[in-house]
Amino acid sequence: MPPIAAYQDDARCRASAVALAFVLLLQAVLGILTLLLHVPILLALTHQAVAMAALILATVPRCKSALPRDLPCRRQAAVLTEASVGGVITRQIIPNEVRYQDCATLRLTRTRLIYPWSLRFQARMARTACSVCGMICRVITPPTDARSTPRLAVGKGDPAGAQICA
């Protein structure tokens, strides 16, 4: 498992990424203090210990999916993918993503491909329960801007389908 696969866009992975950022900030502050205080041994050892913590945080994957493998959503995901939800993503465009689709990854897959980078922030998000598995998911409302037509689109989808783990 490559360490870079550690981050998934859910709360736990965001927390670990934020923790890494704070640890590295702490490490920088400790390094500067160690330097300015003429390398006191306790501070220097702390600086080294935090370095190990940073390495662990940056290396160890912490983002196992909390979802069971056999969610109804997973089976329905393939249907949604082909039918397109709030835009279009097809099996042909991203064949590898289909294998991993569940409530979380389906959302990521769809939004990542539907919107160009500049329009991502225009997508409105709200939390709701998945109509299939009951899990709380984020519903994504596509931007109304005419430019939001997905570049990878091959057809139009049913916006109502976005209620399912979108």
Binding site: Y7, L20, L24, L36, V39, L55, A58, A123
Partner: protein
């Protein structure tokens, strides 16, 4: 293990590389006792990057790479290679929808 969004992979890999590089440079800083010789921050001997006369004064020239003069050569990258900014961007990126 769940699949991660591909757009996060480059920054995650960059952070890991930077952390490893920082640890390696930190080892040089500690081994060369660079923190005891130039104990100021952010300037090193009055400059962000020390002058040529401080970096390359040993003869023959290649010994500067491993000799005591490299104490001020390893500090700037160790300080500048701080991965904190990139990690913060990465953390923010994780929170962006899409």
């Amino acid at each position: 293990m769940a699949r991660s969004p591909r757009r996060l992979a480059p920054t995650a890999a960059a952070i890991l590389l930077l952390v490893v590089a920082q640890i390696a440079l930190g080892g040089l800083v500690a081994g060369l006792k660079a923190g005891l010789i130039y104990d100021t921050w952010p300037l090193i001997d009055g400059a962000f990057i020390p002058g040529r006369e401080h970096l390359f004064f040993l003869q023959p020239a290649w010994t500067n790479l491993i000799g005591q003069s490299s104490d001020c050569a390893v500090r700037p990258p160790h300080g500048c290679l701080s991965a904190g900014g990139l990690a913060a961007l990465h953390a923010a990126d994780c929170g962006v929808p899409g």
